[in-house]
């Protein structure tokens, strides 16, 4: 097959990220060690990819750089095709790129000439590349391989500061669990192949788990559920997440919570929503029954995830562990949207995932900034911070309020849309919405506790933490421009979409509608 530019042009966003990654490794070989230079390449590559994807989504001011003709987006998927351009996939590419961009921006504020800078940025971009490929998948094997690209890059990211034993332990744990989950997923895929002789998501969707091969297929789906369940930290497959988020370098934690976890969620969309929903009308046939039971399993998974995450978060004393558990509970809300599976609910889940990037990645970036200011790992170490550093405190407050779903933040609207869509689905789902909302009320308790510590407890005079030597040299009082910009961007988007979510919601809604009708 002759590869010419015209065939490659739809992949320009992916190529931009790949080129940036390769350029960074090349620069490293040439002896360029300045973090700022390497980071600038990463930011430029990600930024370019983001512009291309936004243009492909039909974002009017950018139509000039469109790489993908409009007729290709949401086009019927050809049989045997490995990839497809769906508008929901493009939306997720935007989400992945934004998460990576935030982390890359924030990492610019790390000490220049820090060893391993090239490794960090290079791997970050490769992880982003894997994520972007997941968003294009139309084939189970393509999907799982793309997931592996991201996974392998992120194992290394967790452990790259080699002298940090906690990071190494986290990386090892992450690697073992990741390998297990990949093995389970591939086994599930092979069972599905055995049942239907294809790994195309479209074919799988049209082949109903009924008749002679039905049991094989159901076992395959079960293995996939467990394998992907590890990726999205669904309870009871969540144990690894907290240790990994806690042990990883702060910026990497932001990337894991804000970025790579969302990939697993999109894989859930593809495997359990796309194919399974092709056969609607539950209860009327074997396929309908299968769909109904998948819904029930996903719903139980969602409820367990949000409840366990929240309850365990209540008991945490360390800030990063608390945020990690809260991240698990948030995954529960997103799974809820997948369980409901109507277009509004999918749009709501997508919105929730989008919001979570800024809320949770932003929160971990603030944690990283605060660690540089000499504040310890415990929640109580943050006392008086809101009064001492009013801007940083206000930003973090907004993120916590957003995670709790308080109005005038993006988190309020995302939960509002998700839960109103759940209630709209009627029947059993009303109770799910109630459980979800009560969970969200429960979460207010631990977010409120952090606010209480930050604003109402005082540090004794003289015991105020001192910035570390490295941080003391940075701009913005020890935070640094890069990190400051990343946090500022999060806050700006949290507030802007918290006041007027209309434009992006319309995009999510139409993307979700197209996604659910792809194979019909």
């Amino acid at each position: 097959m002759v590869i010419d530019l015209a065939t490659l042009s739809p992949f320009l966003p992916e190529l931009a990220v790949l080129a940036a990654a390769l350029l960074i490794f090349l620069l490293d070989v040439l002896g360029v060690r300045e973090l700022e230079a390497l980071g600038a390449v990463a930011v430029a590559g990600l930024g370019a990819a983001l512009l291309f994807v936004l243009a492909d989504l039909g974002f009017t001011p950018l139509l000039g750089v469109r790489t993908l003709s409009a007729s290709l987006v949401d086009a019927p998927i050809a049989a045997g095709s490995l990839y497809a351009f769906t508008s929901l996939g493009l939306v997720f590419q935007v989400i992945f790129l934004l998460a990576t961009l935030l982390v890359a921006l924030a990492s610019l504020s790390r000490p220049s000439r820090e060893p391993g800078g090239a490794v960090f940025f290079g791997l970050l971009l490769l992880a982003a590349l894997g994520m972007m490929l997941v968003a294009l998948a139309a084939d189970l094997i393509f999907l799982l391989l793309a997931l592996e690209v991201t996974a392998i890059a992120s194992y290394l990211l967790v452990g790259y500061p080699r002298r940090d034993s906690r990071g190494l332990e986290a990386a090892m744990k992450f690697y073992i669990i990741g390998a297990l989950s990949a093995a389970l997923s591939f086994f599930g895929a092979s069972l599905l192949y055995g049942a239907y002789g294809s790994t195309s998501l479209l074919v799988l969707g049209h082949s109903l788990p009924a008749g002679g091969n039905g049991e094989l297929a159901i076992a395959g789906y079960a293995f996939l559920l467990v394998g992907l369940g590890f990726e999205v930290t669904a309870v009871p497959f969540h144990m690894w997440a907290v240790d990994v988020y806690d042990g990883a370098p702060d910026d990497v934690s932001a990337f894991l919570a804000g970025g790579t976890k969302k990939v697993g969620l999109f894989a859930f969309f593809l495997v359990f929503l796309g194919p399974v929903l092709l056969v609607v009308a539950p209860g009327t046939s074997a396929s309908g029954n299968f769909h109904a039971s998948v819904q029930l399993v996903l719903a139980l998974l969602a409820v367990a995830t949000m409840t366990v995450g929240n309850v365990l978060a209540l008991m945490q004393r360390e800030m990063k562990r608390l945020l990690a558990y809260s991240s698990i509970s948030q995954a529960g809300y997103m799974l809820l949207g997948i369980a409901v599976g109507t277009a509004p609910a999918v749009a709501g889940a997508t919105f929730q995932i989008f919001a979570h990037v800024f809320l949770k990645a932003g929160a971990f970036l603030v944690v990283a900034a605060v660690a540089g200011l000499g504040v310890g790992p415990l929640v109580t170490d943050w006392k008086g911070l809101g009064v001492r550093r009013p801007w940083l405190g206000a930003g973090f407050t907004l993120m916590l309020l957003g995670l709790a779903g308080i109005p005038l933040t993006i988190g309020f609207f995302s939960k509002f849309i998700l839960f109103s869509a759940t209630v709209q689905a009627e029947g059993l789902f009303v109770w799910l919405a109630l459980i979800g909302l009560l969970n969200s009320a429960l979460s207010v308790f631990y977010y409120g506790r952090i606010l209480k510590v930050m604003y109402m407890d005082r540090a004794e005079p003289g015991e105020e933490p001192k910035p570390t030597a490295v941080a003391a040299r940075l701009a913005l009082g020890g935070i640094g421009w890069g990190r400051g910009c990343a946090i500022g961007l999060c806050v700006a988007l949290i507030v802007a979409f918290g006041i007027d979510p209309g434009p992006i919601l319309t995009v999510f809604q139409s993307a979700a509608t197209h996604f659910l009708t792809l194979g019909v």
Partner: protein, 489 residues
């Protein structure tokens, strides 16, 4: 072109932001904003005209109404939609009054004044937003937004156990809001309303099945009831009140408790009348429990502030009773009673605060005979207590009278329950006055002095309103009837 309600909202938003940023002159900015807002509300009152039923649809229309699309999806339409009628306008007026008296009363606040005045304005902004909102989402947005400034007011400026109280307040009311939100969703989706607008819910809700209405109403009742607060969900209130700073207590009792009552009338009684009728016996029981329990708890308190806080439970119980009897008179009485309680409880919380400043304690048993030392404060205390126990010619009397009349119409001799409890209410106020005002002076601090001028001005304004509306309750009742309650018995 935006309407006057939106202009006032923008005024409050701008004033709040400016106050936060104003530093040393924050109090003047806050005062200016409150004055402008009061003038604006006065204009609303003067220009208010009868909101008519739309003759073609039978849906009530609101005065000064505006509507603009906010979020529109195929399955969900959310509008920015505001308007007032005879029920919400008194609450808007109450917001304006309490905002300015709180700013004046705490004029000398020294602990981070710009943040304090900003939060006071933010609380009032949230309440104003709740009272003018005619869309579920917008209503809920403002409803929740009120929690945050109050959380910080209690938690940063409050008493010794302020952190516990702030968190408890936040959790209790947030859980309640969540249940309320689910029920409002239910009303919208089950009735297949075209949007989240009041008008569209009002038009489509009657089509709901009877049991659905009952369940939805119970959800709403729980959500609004915690804010009331009703027994047995009242335990956040004494903690929040006792630990809150005086200004916080004034807004909490004067405005935040009213959100529950207003919400129950607007979204419960008007949208789901059948639901209300079916669960009315439950509401009566809860109302009686709140009335009795609140009164006896007040009777057993030594702390002046705690006593006033518990008496709020008693008064809001009467409000619930007046709503539950489901008649035109009942609604008028409920609104009037809430307005009266807003004014009087604000006054009494200010009294408690001033007694505490001057004598270093609020303990009625140890602080005695304040009249010779602080005659002005003693006078204010007297007016507040007499108004609260329902003396004729003061504001609470016509309100309670109408409430009992409405109860009599509907429940007959059951009206004796709240009437007899009035004896207890009178008892604890008279006991309080006897000790606090007329007992032998004890433990007077050397530097005790009468009210500072700004505190006296704030209380004086409330006393004047107490007398004015006590003599001329028609000023309010003529307003309240202009609401979609004509269909009621």
């Amino acid at each position: 072109m935006i309407g006057v309600l939106s202009e006032l909202l923008l005024l409050l938003v701008g004033g709040t932001l400016l106050t936060f940023a104003a530093g040393r002159v924050a109090r003047w900015v806050a005062l200016g904003t409150s004055l402008l807002f009061l003038f604006g509300v006065a204009y609303l009152l003067s220009a208010f005209s009868w909101p008519l039923l739309n003759p073609s649809t039978g849906v009530p229309q609101f005065a000064f109404s505006e509507s603009a699309p906010w979020v529109s999806l195929p399955w969900l339409t959310i509008n920015y939609s505001v308007g007032v009628d005879g029920i919400s306008l008194p609450f808007v007026l109450l917001t304006a009054i309490l905002q300015i008296v709180t700013v004046v009363y705490t004029f000398e606040e020294t602990k981070r004044p710009s943040a304090w005045f900003g939060l006071v304005l933010l609380t009032c902004l949230g309440c104003y937003g709740v009272f003018i909102s005619l869309d579920i989402l917008q209503f809920f947005l403002f409803w929740e937004a009120v929690l945050i400034p109050m959380f910080f007011m209690i938690g940063y400026w409050g008493g010794l156990r302020r952190r516990y109280a702030a968190l408890k307040f936040f959790i209790y009311t947030h859980v309640a809001s969540v249940v309320m939100l689910i029920s409002l969703f239910g009303v919208a989706f089950y009735s297949h309303a075209t949007s989240f607008d009041f008008a569209s819910l009002y038009a489509s809700a009657p089509a709901l099945a009877g049991t659905t209405q009952v369940f939805l109403f119970l959800g709403l009742f729980f959500g609004f009831g915690v804010k009331f607060p009703i027994v047995p969900f009242h335990t956040w209130l004494p903690d929040a009140h006792v630990e809150a700073p005086t200004g916080g207590s004034v807004l909490l009792a004067g405005l935040l408790l009213k959100l529950g009552g207003y919400g129950l009338i607007r979204w419960g009684l008007e949208v789901l009348p059948n639901g209300l009728e079916h669960v009315a016996p439950l509401l009566y029981a809860v109302a009686f429990a709140s009335i009795i329990w609140g009164a006896f708890l007040s009777l057993s308190q030594r702390d002046l502030k705690r006593m006033v806080a518990y008496s709020s439970i008693n008064h809001m119980g009467i409000v619930l009773l007046a709503i539950a009897v489901y008649s035109q008179l009942g609604v008028i009485a409920a609104v009037l009673l809430m307005f009266a309680h807003g004014i009087v409880s604000a006054l009494l919380f200010m009294v408690a605060g001033s007694v505490h400043h001057t004598f270093g304690s609020r303990d009625i048993v140890t602080v005695n005979g304040i009249t010779p030392t602080t005659p002005v404060l003693a006078t204010m205390t007297m007016v507040g207590a007499l108004a609260s126990l329902g003396l004729p010619a003061l504001i609470s009397f016509p309100a309670e009278f109408l409430a009992f009349l409405a109860t009599w119409d509907r429940l007959g001799y059951w009206v004796l329950v709240p009437l007899l409890v009035l004896v207890v209410t009178a008892g604890f106020y008279i006991w309080m006055m006897q000790r606090l005002l007329f007992g032998p002076p004890r433990s007077v601090p050397a530097d005790a002095h009468d009210l500072p001028s700004y505190e006296a001005i704030a209380m004086g304004m409330l006393v004047a309103l107490t007398v004015l509306y006590g003599i001329l309750p028609g000023l309010l009742t003529n307003l309240i009837v202009h609401a979609p309650i004509y269909g009621l018995p």
